[in-house]
Symmetry: C2
Subunit: 335 residues, 2 copies
Amino acid sequence: MKNGILKFKRKPKIISSYSVVGHMEKSGPLGELFDEYSNDDKFGKNSWEKAESEMQKRAFSGALNKSGLIDTEIDVLLAGDLLNQCVGSNYGLSCFDVGYLGLYGACSTCSEGLLIGASLYSGGVVDSCAVVTSSHYCSSERQFRFPLEYGGQRTPTAQWTTTGAGAFILKDEGNVEISEGMIGKIIDKGISDINNMGAAMAPAAIDTIKRYFLESEHSPEFFDLIITGDLGYEGSEILKDLLLKDGIDIRNNHIDCGLMLFDRKAQDVHAGGSGCGCSAIVMASDIIPRLASGELKSVLFLGTGALMSPVSLFQGGTIPAIAHLVRLSSLNSHN
Amino acid sequence: MKNGILKFKRKPKIISSYSVVGHMEKSGPLGELFDEYSNDDKFGKNSWEKAESEMQKRAFSGALNKSGLIDTEIDVLLAGDLLNQCVGSNYGLSCFDVGYLGLYGACSTCSEGLLIGASLYSGGVVDSCAVVTSSHYCSSERQFRFPLEYGGQRTPTAQWTTTGAGAFILKDEGNVEISEGMIGKIIDKGISDINNMGAAMAPAAIDTIKRYFLESEHSPEFFDLIITGDLGYEGSEILKDLLLKDGIDIRNNHIDCGLMLFDRKAQDVHAGGSGCGCSAIVMASDIIPRLASGELKSVLFLGTGALMSPVSLFQGGTIPAIAHLVRLSSLNSHN
C-alpha cells in the first residue's frame, strides 16, 4: 500500500457486538436497540470514571457472551477512551485474561480499533480480537469543560458526550465482514473552538473520504450508507458541502452517529452526540445488526476524532483531527 | 496464536533510529550516543508540552533523514506519549503527510508501537512504518505529581521522567530484525504508591517473561540481553528476585533502560529513569546500533508501562501495569 486503502487478504467477521448505555441514550431514538442500560449513570460505582470502566467491563463481557467465547479465547483486546491516560479502558478491562493494546484516537477509537484488529487478523498475527471503547458524559464534561455542578451554558454548536460503551469481537465466521480500511492522517485546519468539534473534525473526514474515492473502484452511491462517527449537525453540513464542491455527493447516503443517537430538539443536545462511545454503540446496536441481516449490503464507517487536550487549547493550540475508515460488507444474501 | 508468541511471517528490519534528548540525558552515561540534544529543555518553545511535541517532530525527521526516506514513503506512523490525550504526539506529528495511529501504553508505548508495526508489516498490510514516542520531565512532573516550582521532595523509590524522544523506521532492509513479539496483559498487584512505579510494573514484566519462556524454544541465557523499559532500581530487583523463585535466572543478562540512562548517584535521580522516552532513546541510540554492528546477537526488549492516572489514584485505585515483549535479532554475522 502507499498511504492508501488497506486490502485485507484474510477478512475478519464481526461475530458479535454489544452496547451498554446510560439513561439519555436509552431515551433516544435508538433506545430499543441497546443491549444493556442503567438508569443510574454511575452504574453502581462511586465515581463517573469508575462507572465508565464498569461500562467497558460489561460491554466486553456481553460481547463475549453473545459470541459464546471466553476471554482466554481472544488473542488481543484493543481499547481506548477519552479519559486522561485512558483509565476507562485500563481499569475496566484489567480483570480479563487477554493481551491488551491501548489506543488513543479520541472519538475515532472505535474505527481505529477495528482497523488495527482487522490488520492483525488479516496478517494471521492473531486469529481473534476484541475492540472496546467508551465515553461518559459526566467524566468528559468535568475533564474537558466544566464540573457538572457549575451548570455552564452550552453553545449551539456544542455536542453531548455519549454515556456508553461498545464492544466487538472479530473472528472467522459470520455475516459482517471488514473488507477494507484506510488509516486517517492528522488534519488541522486551525479551528480552536472546543465547543465546535464538528467543524474541527469535518476536514479530517473529508481528507479520508477523498483519498478513499480517488483509489476505490466504487463511487459514493455504491454504498448503502456512509456513516461518520460524530460530526454532529455542524460538522455533517460542512462535510457534505465541501465534498460536493469536490464533486463527491454523499447527500443521499450520509448519516452521522451523533445525529442518530439523540433527538436533538427533544433531548436538548444541541449539535448531537459525541464521544468514543457514540459511534461504538450506534455501530454495535444498529448498523452491525442491519448488515448481519442483509438489510444493509455495504457501508463505509468513518470514526472521527479531535486530538486536542484542554492544556493544548489553553496554550493557544488549534484542534488536530483524524478520521479512520472501515468498509463493512454483508455476506447475507437472503434479503 | 493463543495468547502467546507472535510469530512474524515477514520480519521487518529497523532501518533507522533516532534520539532527541534534554541536558540531563546528555550529561548521563549514554550522553555521547544520542543523535541530537538541546541544552534548553524547552527546545525553543514557550511551554513544556510544546517542547515535547518539538522533540517528537525532530525525532521522526531525524529517523527519516537517516533512512533516506520522506514522510509520504512511510505507510503508517504509530505514536504515543504520557500527556493527557497524547498531545505530545498529536501536535508534534501533525505536520507530516502520513497515516497516523495513536497509542496509549504509558512507558510501554515504544514496545507497543514496535509490536503493532511489526504485526502490520508481517501481514503485508503495510510495507513500512514508523514508531515515535516521547516524554518530558517537566510536562510529566506537573501533570502526574507537582508543579516544578513547588519543589516537592522526592522519595528514594521515585524515578526521574526522561526528557527525550525516540523514533524508529521499520522496512525491508537492514541488520536488525524484529523476530517475535508478545502482547502484554494488564496486571494489577495492588500497588498504589505513585512514587514506586517499579514495584507496580515489575509483576507485569514477570508475567510476560514467564509466558514467553513457557512457550519459547530458547532459555534466558540464549539472549545477550533481556532489557526492561524502566523498572528502575526497585522494580529491577523485584523482577530478578521473583523470576528466580520461578526458576528463571536473568541476573546475568538483565539490564534496565532506566538504570542505564542516568548515573543514579551523581545525577540524583533516585531509582532511575522512566517515561515513554526512556526506553525509546536507549533502544534507538545504544541497543539498536549494537545489534546492527553485530556486537549483540539476540535481545529481548520488554517495554513496561504503568496505566494509572492521577484521578484514578485519587479515587483509591491501584496501579495496573503492562509489559510488551519484542525480540530483536542481529543479521550481521561479521563480529
